[in-house]
Structures are given as C-alpha cells and as structure tokens.
C-alpha cells in the first residue's frame, strides 16, 4: 500500500520538500496523531474515521506552535544551519518519545473495534482491506488538494516564494514566519490525517514513528525536493517496490528494495525524479 507511505510523505513533502526545512521529528508527529486518535476512541468512543478531522486540526496547531517555538530559531542560525535543524528536530523527537513513554507507557496499544478495522471489500474478485483502501483514497485527495493549494492559491505560491528568497518576499509584505508557521501546521495536519487512519490497523507505541519516518524521507527525496507531484509519485513507487521485494526476498528485507531503488534513482538523476532543488 504505497499510497499510505504517500500519505505520510505528503506532510513531509510540504515541510522538507517545499520549505527546505529538515524535520527529524516527522515520525513523532505521526505517533502523536495515532495516540490522539486512540484516546479519542478509548475515552469518547469516537471512531477514528470521525475523529480524523479533529486529530488533523490538533496537529495543525501543534505543528504551527513547534515552528514558532523552535524551528523558527533553528532556521535563524547563520552557521551550519543544516546541522542545527537536524539536531534541533532530532532532540525534539527524543523529547516527544520520552514524553510518550512517560505518559502513555511503552505498551503496545491498538483500537480493537472500529467501523473499518479488519473488514475487507471485494472488487472484481480481489479482496482489499477496507482501512488501507480508505487510507489510499484520503491520500489521493490530500495530494490533489495540496497540489492545487500550492499551485493555484496565493498562499501556496507564498510558501514557495518564501523559500526561494525570504528577503524579497518581505519587501512585498509577506510575513515569512506566518507563512512558514501555516506551512508547518498544514504539514502536521496532513500527517495527523495519516496517523488517524493508520491508528485503525497499526499498533500504537512510543517508537512507532521512527520506522515510517525514514521511508517518508526516502519517498520525498525519491520524488525530488520541491515537488509535491514528485512526493506522490515517490509514494506509489515505494509502495510498489516494497510489494515486489516482499515477493522475492524474505519479509524482513522488504525495505532493502526501497532503499536500493532510491540509490539507483539518485545515481541516475541526482535531484530525484521531479526535483527542482
């Protein structure tokens, strides 16, 4: 289910790809979203599908706050900004994992009964698990939405322009911090959406994000930085490659295929498939 990776990667594509800010805490955003979804279900019996917009909204606020409190300052660093971003967000990731362990304990949790959990649907004789199918649909919608947002609205253009030249945007009256805080919020909201849907069929534990985060970075880079469409294509390729590798190699090696394809692609095209930066 490559679209699932696509869904996690969209949010990252916005932050990492379009704004060119390294976010090593992306997986932890996902983890928070999954826990939110779990607790909304456990305490208020709201089905993850219904609570998804709530989770996305909460993550929007979270992402924007993180930007304003931390990342804004990390980007201001004059010397080796890249490393400062990497380690600020990496430190943040560790803190978030620690907090999750502290408040939620390291136990594995899952949402046992939901509208979609464990059900399958048959299309032309092929059985597909419903949660994954919904995940795929949502991710396609999210991609199309983001694509139009970036290319058709003033705000989307403002994000790209701000990355290109913060000084020039300031001259035409765009507040860099407002634009980027909104971008971070949106990126976090998208990963929140992903988390809400994944909470239905994945175990939830403090380290859950780490395993998906690396795949998400690879997906974004495979598609090429600066391209939403690239991240989407990257997501589909990653999913297909994983499925094929799983057929040929033992399941524990399935990620090797993804990594090998990434290396192959960047050796041939050093800027990814559709990258512009």
């Amino acid at each position: 289910m490559g679209l699932l990776y696509g869904l996690i990667a969209v949010g990252l594509a916005l932050i990492f790809g379009l704004m060119d800010v390294t976010n090593f805490a992306h997986g932890e955003f996902l983890m928070i979203a999954m826990y939110l979804s779990f607790f909304l279900f456990a305490f208020f019996a709201i089905d993850p599908l219904l609570s998804a917009p709530l989770v996305a909204a909460a993550l929007f606020v979270f992402g924007a706050v993180i930007y304003l409190l931390l990342v804004r300052f990390a980007m201001r660093a004059k010397a080796n900004a890249g490393m400062v971003q990497i380690f600020t967000t990496f430190g943040l990731a560790i803190v978030m994992r620690g907090l999750a362990q502290y408040f939620f304990t390291p136990d594995y949790r899952s949402i046992p009964q939901s509208w979609l959990g464990g059900k399958t649907i048959s299309i032309a004789g092929i059985f597909l698990p419903e949660p994954q199918l919904v995940g795929a649909l949502v991710s396609i919608l999210a991609f199309v939405g983001l694509y139009f947002f970036i290319h058709r609205t003033d705000f989307g253009r403002a994000i790209e322009a701000t990355r290109e030249d913060p000084g020039a945007v300031a001259l035409v009256g765009i507040d860099k911090n407002r634009v980027f805080a909104f971008g971070w919020g949106l990126g976090a909201a998208l990963v929140g959406l992903a988390g809400a849907i994944m909470a239905v069929f994945f175990y939830i534990y403090p380290d859950v994000g780490a395993s998906f985060a690396l795949i998400a970075y690879v997906t974004v880079a495979l598609g090429g930085f600066g391209s939403v469409f690239g991240a989407f294509a990257g997501g589909i390729i990653v999913g297909l490659v994983e499925a094929v590798t799983a057929l040929v190699l033992p399941p524990s090696l399935k990620s090797v295929g993804i990594y090998a394809v990434y290396l192959l692609v960047v050796f041939i095209r050093p800027r990814g498939l559709f990258g512009s930066i």
Binding site: V95, G98, P106
Partner: protein, 327 residues
C-alpha cells in the same frame, strides 16, 4: 599570520599532550567501575566523533551513515575471531581496511550527490547494511555474536577483571584520531578539504582534485571509525546488528562534533567530554524508571545547545581571529 598559525598548532599539540597525560593518570584516582565505564565511553565517542569530523566537518560531506563503518569494524573483527581464530588486533586492521575500501567504493556514486540527497543516501546505505546483517545467518543474523570468554590476555584483547586496558586503548584511539586530524589539518589534504567544503566549484577551478580529496577523507574517516567499532565489540563482548549498526550510532557519532564545534580540531573532544557523561548520568539517574525521563532530559539538552550555540560550544572560547584560522 603564518607565525600565528604555527604557534597555534604548537600550542594545540602541547595542550593535547597535557590532556592525554592527565587522562592517562585518572585511573590511579578513579577506582569506581561505573565512572571508569563512563570515561571509556567518553574517550571512545571523542575518537569516533573526531573521525566523523574529518569527512563531515572538514570536508563538509555530512554523513549520517557512519554506523555502517562502525558495524563493519565490529563484525569483521568478531567474525574473523570466532570463525577463523584470527586475533582481534589483526581483525581491527582488517575491519579498518574493509571499511575504508567500502567507503571508497561507495564514494564513486555517492560523491556526485549534494545536500539532502547525499545525507539521505548515507542513512539509507547504513540501513541496508543493518538489514543485510540482520538476515545473514552465517554472521549470527539477529542473534548477533557472543565473543567467547578466554580469560584476560593482551593477545586476545579481552579482560574480565579489569577495565583498565580498555581505558588505555580508548585513550590511544582518541589520541590517534586527534593526532591524525591535527596532522591533516595543516597538510595539502586539509586545505583541499576546507576548499571543497566552502566552494567546490571554485576549488575545482583552482586545480583541487575535488573527487579524490573527498575519497581520501572518506577512507581515513571510515578506517578510524571501524577501529572504534572493533574496540567496542571487544569491550562489550556481544554484538548484534542493532547494537553496532543502528541509526542511533550515526547520530551519536555526529552529535559531539556538532555540539562541540563542527569542522574544528577541539570540537569533538569538547562535545564528547560534556555530552557523554551527561547522557550516561541521566540514564543512570532517570533511566531505571523505564518511563523515558532520561530521554526527555537528553532531548531537551540537545535542542537547547543546538539552538543556543549553532557554531558549537567551542565558539564560547574562540575569538574571531582564531576561528578565522581554524576554518
């Protein structure tokens, strides 16, 4: 300027000698095993970080995949030892050589990549190595390798009753990595690396062999890190893929250099001297609860230091003139 530079280099060497001598004497006063353990790890990470700094700091090719070389060093040594009975001392050199060769082999395609694409490629290649070792039955797969206990001997570099030999080896490794950096800093290579880091196109046009200088940095860096990996394997006497090749090692190697001052001679040592004891102490103090308090403290520290001192802790000491000479 030249005179200043030579004087600074002499001064650095003297400071290093004094520090090494003080470090060598500490075991006379420190008998506590827990503290000795922390000292050994601090020295080891200082050495590793110093080695990482050669490629990523001086030459500017940020690698977050050095765990690969660390793991290769550990695995080469232990596979040779447990399967063929080759002494760890030779295994160490073999591990270094294997890592340096692989680093150069990987360098061919990798050094064409820039920025994020390069960093992600280094993460990915280490991850591939990790997964391959996970599935390699002959090398113990996920179970790893337990190093057979044969009693205390320098020959087999194995000591059960005392940690002192490990301490001195870690010290020697740290000194070696420091000395190599010190020596290279003022060699043709050192100047090439800094030129490549600052502006590869300009360096190329002035006749610097950009590609080969990156290769050289990668080989030296990988060799030293692999020796560190061999040491670690002997020190903990049990290795498995996660514990020597996991992504966290790549970050742990980079952290001291980044916090201390990336691309500087003293940054990694300073960073390790502060970071590793702090890490171990927070783990010692809060880790037992299993509730992640150590992670919260540790993470907060990293965030604060990265934000407050983007140039690293070393920038607190240096006046502008000196950083000018050092960079």
């Amino acid at each position: 300027m030249d005179k200043d530079f030579a004087a600074r280099r002499r001064r650095d060497l003297i400071i290093a000698a004094v520090l090494a001598a003080i470090a060598a004497l500490t075991p006379l006063f420190v008998k506590d095993v827990v503290v000795q353990n922390i000292l050994i790890l601090t020295l080891m990470y200082a050495g590793l970080s110093q080695s990482w700094n050669i490629l990523s700091g001086y030459c500017g090719q940020i690698s977050l995949g050095h765990a690969l070389y660390f793991g290769l060093g550990a695995y080469t040594t232990e596979l040779l030892f447990t399967k063929f009975g080759v002494l760890p001392w030779f295994g160490m050199l073999a591990g270094g050589a294997v890592s340096a060769l692989i680093a150069m082999g990987l360098g061919y395609p990798f050094f064409r990549l820039r920025g994020h694409y390069f960093v992600i490629a280094t993460i990915v290649i280490a991850e591939i190595g990790l997964l391959l070792f996970h599935n390699w039955e002959w090398a113990g797969a996920a179970m790893g390798i337990t190093i057979p206990i044969r009693g205390d001997s320098w020959l087999k570099f194995q000591f059960l009753r005392t940690k002192l030999p490990y301490f001195y080896f870690a010290l020697a490794l740290c000194c070696l990595a420091w000395f190599v950096t010190w020596w290279l800093e003022n060699s043709k290579w050192g100047f090439w690396w800094r030129a490549v880091k600052d502006n590869p196109e300009a360096a190329e046009s002035l006749g610097v062999d950009v590609f080969n200088s990156k290769m050289g940095a990668a080989a030296v860096s990988a060799f030293l890190v692999a020796v560190g990996g061999s040491f670690y394997a002997q020190f903990v006497s049990y290795i498995d893929p996660e514990s020597v090749m996991g992504f966290q090692f790549s970050l742990l190697m980079a952290l001291p250099a980044v916090l201390g001052g990336i691309g500087t001679l003293w940054g990694p040592v300073l960073g390790a001297a502060i970071l590793i004891p702090l890490t171990e102490l927070t783990r010692f103090k809060f880790g037992g609860s299993g509730r992640g308090v150590d992670l919260i403290v540790y993470g907060t520290l990293i965030v604060l230091i990265s934000l407050a001192l983007p140039r690293g802790l070393l920038s607190l000491f240096s006046r502008p003139k000196k950083t000018g000479a050092a960079r």
